[in-house]
Each structure stands twice: as structure tokens, then as C-alpha cells.
Homo-oligomer: 362 residues x 2
DNA sequence: GTGAAAGCGCTAACAG
DNA sequence: CTGTTAGCGCTTTCAC
């Protein structure tokens, strides 16, 4: 039971112990005011141990003593030095989150979920944008070994995670969205294969026979799974998938989607519908289509993936596969916390439900 | 105040000296492998001081010795414990970034800028979403006093910053986008007054006389400044601003913009153009307008603010005032680093240029 | 060039 | 209930 005792002392900076500017010049004057627990102890006429007990909300302190300590604390404006605490307790109380691109609304929302449960449990979040680069990924991951973070959540491509898995035996980390069950770390995600199938079947039901796929990089397991879902759905409908209908992009940016759509739609035998594996891509697709005079959904139907809040706002509103982004993040954080609390416990992989949201674009 | 409970209790009893695997089972065996610098020292047959020197790249180590140490290091897979290092050097090497909402693409891009220069200088970023709540803000800010972060960048409303300024004398922080020159902390932003004027004058030049303003919360200095810019531009054009043309929202979400637009446009004497102080709002506005059968820009012109990447993708493409988001973040980080390096130096406030980007919506 | 030793500020036994 | 004490793992004088 920790009690951070923020105890917002609304007192003015209490005259900062004579101290004055005896600084040997140039030096960053540090810890000017009521530093150390020792100062508080002295002022309250107790031992450091007692102050520590009060600070940490231990029960075994006589109320009178506690009050004296508390008084000394907010008379001096003391704040615990968590650097010291962290060394002593051997934990940083930081959770590392590695995402390929936190500018993407999809990841942003997941990060929010992570952050909220982390905070709820007294952890802060170290957010690292890896750009899906294995090198950066590795170097961030090293923060765990250096004890700068107590645990990590990785949203990077499965291919990168595999390398991690090898190199980093039993470090406390979990996978979110991307995961390879074979790596053996706890994970949370959705059933991408089925989700993609659902999207394609919706298009099929609308009468489309030529359906394009604008996919992201195959480094992502989800990209491979969704592609397989797409392929199988087509095949099951008696359609022979044409390789020219498929594109792989190494970016989820709007622009990437837009130019891919232009390319795709201008070739002979172009599809009458496009399934993009991300809403950002899909929004770009719609833009690209419009730029070459195609109307959505009349000329070309479009379905996206994720259901970011923007999806409902654009014209036409985007039909898409909703992922429970917030819950994905929250679950990942919980899994990690669980693993931290009990390193040997068997933490499971969990799959969350998706759902097709039909709007105007398809 | 808040007290974060639950700290995973069980702690390994320092097996210390005797070392070996005297683990009382069940316990999270930590630092199993080549922990401590001492182990490396021993293995290399040198003192801990020497290992430390090697680790920190000090010059005064004989090459042969250095090599021996290096060998011992990567034989044992040793990693420095930065918790210990941090305590000893009294710095966390973390920069705190407080944003009202990192889900907003505008803030996301700024955060990117901060992150990139922070990283470049060996700092990591602690990202905190305050939701523009003064309480959360204050409690995050306290991380500075607790030495969990070496410095902070605040993007929260100026009104909140003022409270901070009072309470937190000479703590190392800087303001970004939002700032009150009177608070006396370094800041970076743009000239919101002129920027808003530019937007309105563009609308005026297009022949609009009734121009609505969809603004955010007046806690934000930028909101007040943009409103003044709007008002003055109108007045200078000989137009008497009508209070019914103005709305203040406490959210920048798409939905907020959409419903505000609906309200605004359905009243008698509704404006023929709308200036929204954020692109996300503007995108919502366009959506809202469309939902009640208004065409943009034919029936109502719309101009936004920020120029997030999405602005060019929607239909119609958004006319907006571009802010140099990335540079804003980079500059803020540099200002902070500067202040950290030399606490007594006078760090300036800086204003970056904005620019009107004319696209299809107005 | 290298080692010995003194803490950084805190927590947690262990006594009393 | 409270105090004494021993470090957490590292950096850094200060000697040799």
C-alpha cells in the first residue's frame, strides 16, 4: 500500500532554509530546499524510518507522531526523491510502450487505454515511437534491461517481435495487436482472419466480384492474416483472386492510401470495391478515388478497418471493421501488470471481438 | 489527495554476498545474471571504478584494461542499472510532456517534434495526457519535484499554467503553444491574433459578411487571441460582429464541431462562412453541415486551423491556417534543454510563423 | 592509470 | 510504536 502523499502543500516556498546562493558558480543548484527525508526527520524529532513509514502509509505509527511528521513535511515543502526510492525498491514504476507510429489515431487510442490502466496502478508511461524500425525497437527494448522501465508493451510488427523473443528470454513484456503465439509472450489482439473475411463477405453480399485489397507491410502479422481472410473469402465465393487487385504498402498514411488507390483503379480490369486494412488508408483511398473522378460508393465501394472516430465524419461515412482499441490497450496493460505481479504465472493470450460497422462507403 | 495503492509486495531478499541460488522459491528472482558493476569488475580483475570509467567512456583507461573490461561486460551480458546511475547523478534523463489530449493529431505531431530532439539529446519522454484538468496537471507537474523528470513541457491552457507559475517558482519547464508571457517561463508559439485575422480576411475577400466563429474553451489563451483577431478583422471591415455567430466549445472532437455547426447554421441570420479554430473542429463542422443538407463551400464556406495532414484529404479539402507543429515541438524541447543546461540563462520566448493554406473549403 | 572509499536518498530488517 | 543500521548499484574524489 503506497500512499504517495502528494499532500499538495499550498504553502508558499518556505523561506528555503537560509542556504542562499553559496553556489560555487555555474553549478546547477540542486535540491535547494527541504531535500532529504533526514531533514524532515530532524525537524519532526523522529527517525528517518518513521518518516519513511508515514510517507508510505504504514499503519504502525502513532497518530500524534504521524501528524508531527506530516507537519514537518509540508512546512518544508518536502517531496520524496523517487530516484532514491526507485533504486532502493528496484523498480522504476514506468511502463514502456513501443508503437510503430503514435501519430496514427488507431495507435493513439490504444495508447490511451494503456495509459489509463497504468496510471490507475501507479505507473507512468514511457512512450516510444519506433517507426517499426528493428534497430530502434531493440534499443528501446534495452531500457528494460537497464531497469529504466519495469515492463513493456509492444505493438510493433510480429517479425520484429520474433527477434526480440529470441534475444530477451524472460523479460516482462506483452504483445498488443501484433503477436506471434509461437514467441510465447502474453498477447491481446483480435481475430484478423475472420475480421477480414467479414469485410470481404459484406462486399460480396453487395454484389461485388472484383475486390481490391490495400494492405500494409507483410512484416505485420495482421497484414498476412487479413490477406488470408480476404483470399479465402473470395475463394469460398467461387472467385479466383487476381494478384493485380492486391497491394502492399509500407505506410498507413493517408497519402499512401490515396496513391495506391489511384494506381489500383486505373489499371485494366480494376476492382469495383476496395478493402483497405486501416481506416487511415481507406480515407486516403477515398480521396485518391475522388481525385480521379470516381464516386464512392457508386463507382467504387470502400471498406476500412479499425473504426477510428474520424471514420464516421468523412464523406461518405466509412464502412469499417471496428476494433475495440481502448480495450486492446487496457487489456495489454493489465496483462503486463499481471506478469509483473507474478512473473511465473501463466498469462494467457486473449482475443477481443471485432464488429463490422456499415456506413455509407460500402 | 490521491493515494496509489498496491505496490506488488513480494520483494526478493537480497541474497547478497553468499550469492548462489539460495532463492526461497516462488520469489521473483531478479538481476539473476551479470548484475552489478562489481561482478564485471571482479571478472575483469579490475576495480569498480575502472569499470565505471569504461562504461562512461572516460579517456584515462589503458586500452588493454578497457578491452578486458569490455570483454567481461559482454561475456556477462551486463547492463548498467540506470536506477542507480540516476540516483548518483541526480538526474532522471526524462522529459515530461503534458498535453490536453494526445489523441488530437495536432498535439500528436508536436509531441513527435519534442520526442525527436529529446531523444537526440539522450532524454526519453514521459507523456502525460492531462485532459486539460488542473488537478491532473498539478499532480503530473509534481513529478518534477519528485525528481522523476528533469524538466517539463506544458501544452495545457494558459489559465492552468498561471497557477503552475505561482506554485512552482524556478522549476525547469517551458510552455508550448499556450503561454502567458507574464508567467515568465520560456515559451514557443505562434501569433494567434494575426493568424485568426488572416483567416477571417480571407473569408472577407471571398465576399462573406456573416462569418461564424467556432472556438474552443476560453481557458486557452489561443482561443481568446484568435477570437480577438476574428473580432478586429470583422470590425476593420466595417462589420459589426454578432454575438450569435460565436460559440465556445470545451472539446476539439469532431463530434463537438459537428453539433456546433448544426446549431449555428440553423438559427435565423445564420453565417455564410465558419471559422473553426482547429482542423478537427472544422472537419466536424463540414460533417455537421452536410448532415443538414448544406454544401461546402457553396452554401457555407469553412476554414480551419492547424493544417493537420488530414486536412488535405477530406472532401472538400480544407482551407486552413498552418502551424509549424513539428517545429513547435522541437523548439520547445530545445528551449527546455537549454534551460536545463544553464538554469540561470535567460531563455527567450519565440514566435514561429504561420501561413494560410487555401484549398477547397473556402 | 587504477583502486579504495564515501555516499546519492531511501526502505526494510531487526532490535528495543 | 520507534530508532539503528545496512545497503540498493553507481559515480567520483582522492590517494597511490
Amino acid at each position: 500500500m503506497r500512499d504517495h502523499l502528494s499532500r499538495s502543500s499550498s504553502k508558499a516556498p518556505a523561506a528555503a532554509l537560509s542556504n542562499a546562493r553559496s553556489q560555487p558558480e555555474g553549478r546547477p543548484l540542486r535540491a535547494a530546499e527541504g531535500s532529504s527525508i533526514a531533514a524532515v526527520a530532524q525537524q519532526a524529532g523522529v527517525s528517518v524510518a518513521t518518516v519513511s513509514r508515514v510517507l508510505n502509509g504504514h499503519e504502525n505509527v502513532r497518530p500524534a507522531t504521524r501528524d508531527r511528521v506530516l507537519a514537518a513535511i509540508d512546512a518544508s515543502g518536502y517531496r520524496v526523491n523517487e530516484l532514491a526510492r526507485n533504486l532502493r525498491t528496484a523498480e522504476s514504476r514506468l511502463l514502456l510502450t513501443m508503437v510503430p507510429d503514435f501519430g496514427n489515431p488507431f495507435y493513439a487510442e490504444i495508447v490511451r487505454g494503456i495509459d489509463s490502466v497504468a496510471r490507475q496502478h501507479g505507473y507512468f508511461m514511457l512512450l516510444c515511437d519506433t517507426g517499426a524500425d528493428p534497430g530502434r525497437e531493440r534499443s528501446y527494448f534495452d531500457l528494460l534491461r537497464r531497469r529504466r522501465a519495469d515492463g513493456a508493451i509492444c505493438l510493433d510488427p510480429a517479425t520484429i517481435q520474433q527477434a526480440l523473443g529470441d534475444a530477451s528470454g524472460a523479460l516482462p513484456w506483452v504483445a498488443c495487436c501484433e503477436f506471434d503465439p509461437a514467441v510465447g509472450v502474453p498477447y491481446v489482439g483480435i481475430d484478423n482472419y475472420r475480421a477480414a473475411g467479414d469485410a470481404v463477405r459484406h462486399l460480396l453480399a453487395r454484389g461485388h466480384r472484383c475486390i481490391g485489397l490495400i494492405n500494409s507491410d507483410v512484416d505485420y502479422l495482421y497484414a498476412r492474416q487479413r490477406q488470408q481472410g480476404y483470399l479465402d473469402a473470395l475463394t469460398e465465393a467461387g472467385i479466383m483472386p487476381d494478384a493485380r487487385w492486391r497491394m502492399n504498402l509500407n505506410s498507413l498514411d493517408y497519402e499512401a492510401g490515396a496513391s495506391a488507390a489511384v494506381t489500383l483503379i486505373q489499371q485494366p480490369g480494376a476492382p469495383s470495391a476496395i478493402f483497405a486494412v486501416s481506416d487511415t488508408l481507406a480515407i486516403g483511398v477515398i480521396h485518391g478515388l475522388r481525385s480521379v473522378g470516381k464516386r464512392v460508393p457508386d463507382d467504387v465501394a470502400v471498406v476500412g478497418f479499425d473504426d477510428i472516430s474520424l471514420a464516421a465524419q468523412i464523406d461518405p461515412p466509412l464502412t469499417t471493421v471496428a476494433q475495440p482499441m481502448r480495450e486492446l490497450g487496457e487489456t495489454a496493460a493489465r496483462l503486463l501488470l499481471q506478469r509483473l505481479a507474478n512473473p511465473l504465472a501463466n498469462v494467457p493470450g486473449v482475443l477481443l471481438p471485432h464488429r463490422l460497422v456499415i456506413r455509407g462507403s460500402a
